[in-house]
Symmetry: C2
Subunit: 263 residues, 2 copies
DNA sequence: GCAAATTTGTTCGTATGTATT
DNA sequence: CAATACATACGAACAAATTTG
């Protein structure tokens, strides 16, 4: 009972890729060559190639050919946060420090500061009225020159009025905003809650991260909400990472140091 | 500069879906109807529909039609672990308790116990020689009847020889294996390290979780390695969750209780 | 710099098979 | 069994992107 021909062709090529016979970066036979090799019409071999493209095994470049996708060396981010100092998870300066510690070069764009009204999800996280004014601080991060993460932090506007002026300055806050708020307003972060979810990328994420335009590569969104001593949330940070180049580690209790090596 | 016709048709349908004009579960016009509506050939409207299928917006059922995919109510798992008692993160009985607490019905298959040789990644995590014998305990979990996660825990065979007989019995260990090992062998878990990654599902995962066969829905793999007081790892658990129905929460420090509501 | 050759992208027409109602 | 709807396959033509001579 033969399966569909395009399927058999696709499986044949898949095996060649997975066995390494077709190495990452290598060019596949052209559609015309495949047409002859499998004695099928061009549209049928194109269906087979589409099957591979949709699974992220190959990519086609008009005018050039079809190529086996290169695999990306994943970067490992430690999410474990010190509830006091602020955090350690892909946030602020701590993020950069972790990158350089792994022998890679980290860069970050200057913060983009905006005043916005809180939408439903944010208002819920910060336990404020929908439509309340919030400060948004946005940064893009790069590792070895490739886009690595986008981060947006939200603070109730009230904090600025109470004296945290630096929040609305488009400059890095070297000591970290959590530390800054503790020093300036005496708001200590006694705990935080991370929420992790995975979803398809939106248009802006596709272009910034240079993801395939078929939406195959998802993004991880980590929202971290910081809580003050009285139990009220006072800031939330959303970090967006493409799943094809990122892994995460959480340490609890006493764990030995170890270079985080991807699997 | 008109884009390709299949693209315009796809965008048109996408907008109808995203605006809610085509509700989840609703049936799209048939290919023949779309052919008339857009004055394109059937192959062209099929290309448009394929574009939507590859993004997971619709699904086609031979003999029936094309339907807008239903969105799934995500389940929230708390990963925060107590380094002592064991854990809280989607593991063992604790997992079941969290599910029922959210007013859902949890089930788990009886454990499948196997003796295996450790492969490279596992040997690295457990810091043992590659090829060393390990006990593997595998379980599948369901929430409200739908497949939710697959979990496989690995223990060095040595633990069984030292007296932890229950590890190789195909029965639930109600108090949890971490507690059991502490009671039986005096091995206390003083810390653990979680590693989170996202990858496409393999064949077994596609069939168990009933994922679309185009590999669009990725899975989250969380490996949790437990460390004893002397700093050596003594167990690793791999948990696999489909990303379309799961979110995760990590609490650090003092955070207020709050019903975990998906965004 | 340009034209030709190569390679993938889009569109149509047509025929037949398979699954469901 | 018949009607309906999607799945597979072939052939053909032209367009667009890229490389090559």
């Amino acid at each position: 009972m033969p399966e569909a021909m395009y399927w058999r062709i696709a499986q044949d090529l898949r095996k060649e890729i997975e066995s390494g016979k077709l190495a990452p970066g290598a060019q596949l036979a052209t559609e015309l060559e495949l047409r002859e090799r499998y004695r099928a019409s061009r549209n049928t071999v194109r269906d087979a190639v589409k099957w591979l493209v949709n699974r992220g095994l190959v990519e086609t470049r008009p005018g050039q050919g079809t190529f086996v996708v290169e695999k990306i060396e994943p970067f490992v981010t430690t999410l474990s946060a010190d509830p006091e100092t602020g955090l350690g998870g892909g946030e602020g300066m701590a993020a950069l420090a972790e990158v350089t510690a792994q022998g890679r070069k980290a860069e970050a764009s200057t913060p983009l500061v905006e005043i916005q009204k809180a939408g439903t999800p944010l208002a819920e996280l910060l336990q404020i009225q929908e439509g309340t004014q919030v400060v948004s601080r946005h940064q893009k991060r790069y590792i070895d020159g490739t886009p690595w993460s986008m981060q947006t932090s939200y603070y109730p506007m009230e904090l600025v009025l109470r004296g945290a002026q630096k929040l609305i300055e488009a400059t890095d806050i070297p000591e970290g905003t959590v530390r800054y708020l503790a020093d300036t307003l005496g708001i200590r972060q006694v705990g935080c809650r991370d929420r992790i979810m995975v979803r398809p990328p939106n248009e802006g994420e596709v272009t910034f991260f240079r993801l395939p335009d078929n939406g195959r590569v998802a993004v991880v969104v980590i929202s971290r909400t910081g809580y003050a001593a009285d139990g009220t949330p006072f800031r939330t940070t959303f970090s967006v990472f493409p799943v094809d180049r990122n892994q995460f580690v959480i340490n609890v209790g006493e764990v030995p140091d170890r270079p985080a090596v991807p699997t």
